[in-house]
């Protein structure tokens, strides 16, 4: 066991992404080690959602390389991708619970789809995860009957029901009151410790980022400004990072030609 040298679970090299003629990610390099909690931070339009979609294998890289748990996303066969997906869990920003199913069925769905388990085991495992996120006894409700914080927690329960090696969490605290979001942060830390998960959190909430992160990647306008431990990021002399940390509005740069082109051209 100890002979294994630790390999990064996530490796991104020179990822460049275009949407049409617009480039949204520039030469992104990104690596996450086992057991790490990594926070990807950036404002809106920084490209963090696009990076996340690549990490989830929802987008295949056309330039550069993305390897998750050793699987190259660009060249993975459907079988390899399926195997990879049983080892990762995702909690989406809005929860993305299936509205036509009860909370319990939502949480149990990955188990039922991928494992041939005894129904008793499925029931216990999925309700256990509801207990973990403090939603014990809520399995028969429909998602529409839940509050925002409860939806987030139910989504987390579904994300961890297969005991994934890798957990992605998109904006855990967006739209939640401070107490609920603090509870979620606490839960993320406990999940890593008890279930040995490697966790990637995308957020723009500084407080939560500083509390849970082992290291932070700061993304701005499609480029990685820095990756480092919390203290290093806080102490960074980089002006954009300090703008982000201190919530300073960024100065708008004006390029005369570009500006005029945008205002006058029909197909800008």
């Amino acid at each position: 066991m100890n002979a294994e040298s630790p390999q990064p679970l996530i490796e991104v090299e020179k990822l460049n992404v275009w949407f049409g003629r617009r480039q949204v990610l520039f030469d992104v390099d990104f690596a996450v080690m086992p057991g790490e909690i990594r926070v990807i931070m950036g404002g809106s339009g920084s490209g963090k959602s696009t990076l996340l979609r690549h990490l989830l294998g929802l987008l295949r890289p056309r330039s550069g390389r993305v390897r998750i748990l050793g699987t190259d996303i660009a060249s993975a066969s459907p079988e390899e991708l399926l195997k990879l997906r049983t080892q990762m869990g995702v909690s989406f920003q809005g929860g993305a619970l299936f509205t036509s199913m009860t909370v319990g069925d939502n949480v149990a769905l990955p188990l039922r789809e991928h494992q041939k388990l005894d129904e008793t085991t499925v029931r216990i495992m999925s309700r256990l995860k509801l207990e973990v996120v403090n939603l014990g006894g809520f399995q028969d409700l429909m998602p529409s009957q839940l509050s925002g914080g409860m939806i987030k927690r139910a989504a987390l329960a579904r994300a961890i029901v297969m005991d994934p090696k890798l957990l992605f969490f998109d904006e855990p605290s967006a739209g939640l009151d401070p107490v609920v979001s603090a509870e979620l942060d606490e839960l993320i830390l406990r999940l890593r410790d008890a279930l040995r998960m490697t966790i990637v959190v995308v957020t723009h909430e500084l407080e939560s980022a500083f509390k849970i992160a082992d290291s932070i990647t700061v993304l701005d306008k499609g480029r990685i400004l820095m990756t480092g431990p919390v203290a290093e990021v806080r102490a960074s002399p980089n002006e954009r990072i300090q703008d982000l940390l201190n919530r300073r509005p960024r100065p708008v740069e004006v390029d005369t030609d570009e500006y005029l082109r945008r205002l006058t051209e029909e197909d800008a």
Partner: protein, 268 residues
């Protein structure tokens, strides 16, 4: 801007629209192949199409549509009876009404009315359901859980439609003939039973076969247009609304045009 650029602008725009249209057609073709692939061989790659979901869809697109399909095709039958009696009596050829109604109903009107009703009910509901799932990231959630969205959302719908649209068409045939019989039998001075027997005698298997053949094509068209529109929804709740309308308009147009081409080639 140069004169040349000005002059070619409409062409340019037309070109882009054409490229988009071809891309969409290609996407619809792929969707058809993929849906059929999962329905036939999905279970071998861990992506089985659940029989339970197919039955649920069959209920929604088929069984629930029976009353309205019966009502409308009955009405169309009465209408055809009125028109044919009026038109043919000018030539003193009232007794040809039976065969005229029989052929036009089985070859053309029953399947067309059924198609339009189902496009309005189910084409729009496919687009709305998948569209709103797309907007709320439920489609992404399916993908990262390892459930191919096409297998889960498109295949059961396609299979259900391919089974139920022909069934509805046969029911519509019956209701239309009955409608015509009710209106015509007093004028023709025959009993309703005799009218129906005469109808059955004047029909060849190919008349009914032609309608059924069309119903398969319509089933595929309605499903694919609805599903593909749903998958390509962007822009929140408003986008879902637009997609729903677009799905109905597009699928009914596709259906009428396909019908015309069918009739042309089959009746040469």
């Amino acid at each position: 801007m140069s004169f040349l650029e000005q002059a070619t602008k409409p062409v340019n725009r037309l070109g882009r629209k054409a490229v988009a249209a071809v891309a969409e057609l290609g996407y619809i073709g792929l969707l058809l192949l993929e849906s059929l692939y999962f329905a036939i061989a999905g279970w071998r790659v861990g992506q089985p199409v659940r029989v339970r979901m197919v039955f649920e869809q069959m209920r929604q697109v088929g069984v629930d549509a029976i009353p309205i399909v019966l009502l409308l095709s009955f009405t169309v039958g009465v209408m055809l009876g009125i028109q044919f009696i009026a038109a043919l009596s000018e030539f003193g050829a009232e007794n040809q009404v039976v065969i005229a109604v029989a052929k036009s109903v089985t070859r053309e009107f029953a399947v067309l009315i059924t198609g339009i009703v189902v496009a309005g009910r189910s084409g729009s509901s496919f687009a709305a359901r998948i569209g709103s799932m797309n907007v709320s990231q439920e489609v992404d959630a399916l993908a990262v859980i390892g459930i191919e969205p096409v297998r889960y959302l498109a295949s059961p719908a396609l299979v259900a439609m391919l089974i139920m649209l022909p069934v509805l068409t046969i029911l519509a045939n019956g209701a239309s003939i009955l409608g015509a019989a009710l209106y015509c039998s007093p004028t023709l001075d025959v009993s309703i039973g005799a009218y129906v027997v005469q109808t059955l005698n004047s029909l060849e298997p190919w008349d009914i076969g032609q309608g059924l053949a069309k119903s398969f094509v319509f089933a595929a068209l309605i499903t694919l247009v609805g599903v593909s529109t749903g998958f390509s929804v962007t822009g929140g709740a408003e986008g879902v609304g637009r997609a729903t309308t677009r799905a109905v308009v597009l699928s009914i147009s596709a259906l009428v045009i396909a019908d015309m081409m069918f009739s042309y080639f089959l009746n040469r």
